[in-house]
Amino acid sequence: MTALELQGVSKVYGQGPTEVQALRGINLSVKVGTLVAVMGPSGSGKSTLLTIAGGLEEPTSGEVLVDGTALSTMSRNAKARLRRRSIGYVFQDYNLLAGLTAAENVALPLELDGVGARAARDAGLKALEELGLADRASRFPDELSGGERQRVAIARAVIGDRRLVLADEPSGALDSVHAEQVMRMMRTACGRGVAGVVVTHDAQLASWADRVIFLRDGRMADQTSPLQGPESLLAPSQ
């Protein structure tokens, strides 16, 4: 089942001499349970693709479908509800609310969606437990390390009945061990039936994906072939 589909999506910023064509006719389909990575140099349109896929920005032309529903046909309220319920976001700078504890940050999307405070908090604690952060639940973001903050951000992105998790450079400035942990969490979420899209310039991060898409000047320039088994790597060398 396709969780996310982009059909001929283009995005233009500005007009006349300052016009910038950020995306040009992007077609992309991401099935439930798969992780797609989007690579490309700075300015290739990676982040724009992600914000449009998540309904945070509208395309100039083309259509975005989440779970088969075109975002352009949805009312503002319905779109807001979809973003709250079905789409999880992980941003480069985590975007945790400084005045809330780790558990409260994780539970926030549920509370905003009308889940009772206690039930939301329990779900938040459980999500933190799964990520080995139970003892950090009542800490505030500035009391957490970079790696812990990022794990809290991922817990918040995957909590509840999410269908789509979108991550923009989710390893940020993390070291390779923590970056790997972040990607393992993304894979786990996909294993539970989420579709994931990760935007990154880091090939090691992208290599966790089932499919890697390469953007160039707003166009989809290339993509990897379906993954082969590891046998070819393990053949005796000589």
Binding site: M39, P41, S176, R184, R187, H201, A203, Q204, A206, S207, W208, A209, V212, F214, R216, A221, D222, Q223, T224, S225, L227, Q228, G229, P230, S232, L233, L234, P236, S237
Partner: protein, 203 residues
Amino acid sequence: MSVPHALLALLSEGPKYGLQLRQEFEARTGEVWPLNVGQVYTTLQRLERDGLVESDDTGQDGPQKGFRITARGEKELAGWLRTPPDLSSPPRDELVIKVLVALRMPDTDVHEVIQVHRRYVVELMQQWTRIKEDAAPGDVSLGLAVDAELFRLDAVARWLDAADGRLTRALADAEIAGLAPDSQPAAVIPALPRPRRRLGVRR
């Protein structure tokens, strides 16, 4: 990899039989570094001849013969662990040469050539990452070996990115300078590196 030193390392844990050494060698190097197992026995004989290991006087050659490391063997092993391997660059880096050649061919899109290699490198990295993902959580040796491959390939991917960016910038500079914007970079940018000398050779 160095079979003699791998055997010395196994014996540094305590005396072992030939068969046991062979089995442990296979188990620890896993599938990442396949080895002709016949080498194990001949290597042990050589190590004994050089005084780096001692064997049971009683036993015949074969799987049941016991071995232990000598003080000289310990010293040799410690020295080997701390001796840096040869990390000097190869005399010719094939990928660098291909990109440099592409640059000089008027009808070839260098960015496309770079992308073909980038895709291949990322596909290889995906395969290694999947091996790491599927490995048992406690298999640190496999994790380390796969990481080494991933970091090596990552360096290639980064070089390709840097080459791509450098060429894009060079072309933009050439356009600003009023040279033909639609020409192949090599034709319009005299300052681009050319394979005048053998790249990668240390002076």
